[in-house]
């Protein structure tokens, strides 16, 4: 029972954040909350392969960016009325764009993962980075979709006739999707598949000796993580009403890794805490000094060198020595 308290607390604080924001007259809190939830989805998906599966992917932003662009490109074709390649009509329906983003990101993850997982260690880090950079330069060179400037999505996608012009409505839609996502992720992490991923991280050779095709399960994990990152990217495009190649830049991949580390590698709630910490630091440090990356870098360095298990580890230790 006690282990449910913490997730419930997190859910409730996100539920009442817009109310608090209205009371304080600080609408920035609501925007921050939405960003935290979206980044948390993406960081949690990276945590699935990195923390549970031990695959250090340095190209996770690729899938985030693909989700971002699927929404942008579908909107572009919806607005111009011309189908993509003469076949695929555009759309502004969230029930279509979100699954489409997950599908395309999943296919990309299947291809990239199938190739990358043949290597390991440093080579795996670098090959995932390479694929992400290829996609980044590909989208920068697509003049039809804005090139470096990206695509402006004039209106947030429609959903069940809700008033999506209202920022608070969008916030609660994101909260709904995030809640569903984390419930599903909880099931995955605690399934036999999740156990297998952990086993592969701890000792891949032993798992193989037990007759488990480790390559296949790593690939499943990689595809699942890619799809989730695509979902997060699609939500981000809806929230910012903008799709940009910056979402696939390699520093974005670095930021997702920072969130995972800040929160605590391989802990279920870690990525939520990590993305909250990252967005809060970014927002307030940027307001405080233009040299905020210096402070962020120092904090990060101290966290990486000096702590074990990030924020989640710290909380656990404070609450009585569980690790």
């Amino acid at each position: 029972m006690t282990r449910l308290i913490f997730p419930a607390l997190i859910f409730l604080s996100f539920l009442f954040l817009p109310v608090l924001a209205d009371l304080l007259g600080e609408s920035v809190l609501r925007t921050m909350g939405a960003r935290i939830m979206i980044y948390a989805i993406c960081a949690a998906s990276l945590n699935l392969i990195l923390g549970y599966g031990g695959m250090v992917s340095f190209g996770h932003a690729a899938f985030f960016g693909i989700g971002n662009y699927v929404v942008g490109i579908l909107y572009h074709h919806y607005a111009s009325g011309e189908p993509l390649w003469g076949l695929i009509p555009g759309s502004n329906q969230m029930l279509i764009t979100l699954p489409a983003a997950m599908l395309v990101a999943g296919i990309a993850a299947l291809i990239i993962g199938a190739l990358s997982l043949r290597t390991s260690g440093v080579q795996f880090i670098m090959i995932t980075l390479a694929f992400a950079q290829m996609l980044f330069f590909l989208f920068v060179s697509l003049k039809t979709y804005g090139g470096e400037d990206g695509i402006i999505v004039r209106r947030t996608n429609a959903l069940f006739g809700l008033n999506m012009r209202d920022k608070t409505t969008v916030y609660y839609v994101i909260l709904g999707v995030a809640t569903l996502y984390f419930l599903a992720l909880w099931r995955i992490v605690n399934s036999s598949f999740g156990a297998m991923l952990s086993g592969i991280r701890q000792n891949e050779r032993r798992m193989a000796a037990m007759g488990i095709s480790t390559y296949r399960y790593k690939l499943y994990g990689f595809v699942l993580a890619g799809m989730s990152a695509g979902l997060a990217g699609a939500l981000m495009a809806n929230m910012l009403r903008f799709a940009s190649p910056d979402t696939m830049h390699w520093t974005k991949s670095g930021e997702f890794m920072i969130m995972v580390i800040l929160g605590g590698v391989g802990s279920f709630l870690g990525p939520i805490l990590g993305s909250a910490a990252f967005v809060t630091l970014e927002t307030y440090l940027a307001g405080w000094t233009e040299h905020w990356p210096l402070v962020l870098g120092l904090i990060l360095l101290i966290v990486v060198l000096g702590t074990r298990g990030g924020i989640k580890g710290l909380i656990d230790r404070l609450l009585g020595g569980r690790s």
Partner: protein, 305 residues
């Protein structure tokens, strides 16, 4: 047309030796200490800024050279002593993040000291006039100087690694770190030496780029990823691999950028061809790395270990 091709090949060679100077240090740090050092680009930037500042203050390009080398090397020693030393026993994830935060820190420190505006290094007067290499082909001699320096450094490294006691330890270290330590070698001193050497080469590369490209914040990251591609294609820990892959990638990248948009213009409107050509040529080196890794997962000249 032939002249144009020769010119671009020379440009590619010049970019290639630049990549080699960076990759040589990085691959040794990788191979011997097992550390992924994303901050290598920052050492390149430190060298460029320190050298350019001294060169501007004194009015002599040549005094800038030792300044760049010293600044990069001292920064390298400091980075090794304060941060990297704690990372030897850690996994790759911690190394990537710790050195990533070093990038953030160094970039902001440079902004604090020099500001955001790019600065330029003046060419030494003897090198400002183009020379006629073969009839009809005029080429800036400064780029030839870079090529010569790069090749000299390669030769020097080859001698150092193959014929000196330190070189022997370096080779032994990249094959089997634990064994070298077990045999009673002061491995920490070796680590510090290798890191300082790598930093110095990065600083040299940074300063020499000064007169060609702008010296600005973020210059390190632009070349860092290409350097990593070189290291991985060449095989982690292999100087020979870094040399072959560096020159190869330098030439391929430069030629793609120079000729691909022109070729694409035959197929599509000019503006689209330029954008697409630039995109594909930027993707080129990454594509090459992916292909090489799929065929040889440890790189071309992997060190056995």
């Amino acid at each position: 047309m032939t002249l144009l091709i020769i010119e671009q090949l020379l440009n590619g060679l010049q970019y290639g030796v630049m990549l080699f100077l960076l990759a040589a240090g990085l691959t040794l740090i990788f191979g011997i200490m097992g550390v992924i050092n994303l901050a290598h680009g920052s050492l390149y930037m430190v060298g460029a800024f320190a050298g350019t500042w001294v060169a501007t203050e004194t009015g002599s390009f040549w005094i800038g050279v030792p300044a760049a080398l010293a600044a990069a090397m001292l920064t390298g020693f400091a980075v090794e002593a304060v941060v990297v030393r704690r990372l030897y026993a850690r996994d790759h994830l911690d190394q990537v993040l710790a050195t990533f935060s070093l990038i953030l820190i160094f970039n902001q420190l440079i902004v604090l000291i020099f500001g955001r505006a790019p600065i330029y290094t003046a060419l030494p007067p003897a090198f400002s006039e183009s020379v006629e290499l073969i009839p009809g082909l005029f080429y800036p001699p400064y780029r030839l100087l870079i090529i010569a320096v790069g090749l000299l450094v390669a030769l020097g490294l080859w001698g150092l690694i193959n014929f000196t006691r330190i070189g022997m330890l370096v080779r032994a270290g990249s094959t089997n770190r634990e064994m070298v330590r077990a045999l009673g070698v002061d491995i920490r001193l070796l680590y510090t030496f290798v890191f300082g050497l790598g930093a110095m080469l990065a600083g040299l590369a940074g300063f020499m780029t000064g007169p060609i490209l702008a010296v600005q914040v973020g210059m390190g990251e632009q070349i860092l990823l290409a350097t990593f591609v070189v290291v991985v294609i060449g095989g982690v820990g292999s100087i020979k691999g870094a040399f072959v892959a560096g020159i190869g990638l330098g030439v391929i990248d430069t030629c793609l950028r120079a000729f691909l948009p022109g070729l694409l213009r035959n197929l599509m409107p000019a503006s689209e061809a330029d954008a697409l050509g630039l995109g594909i040529s930027s993707m080129g080196i990454y594509l090459l790395m992916a292909v090489v890794l799929l065929i040889r997962p440890k790189g071309l000249f992997a060190v056995e270990g």
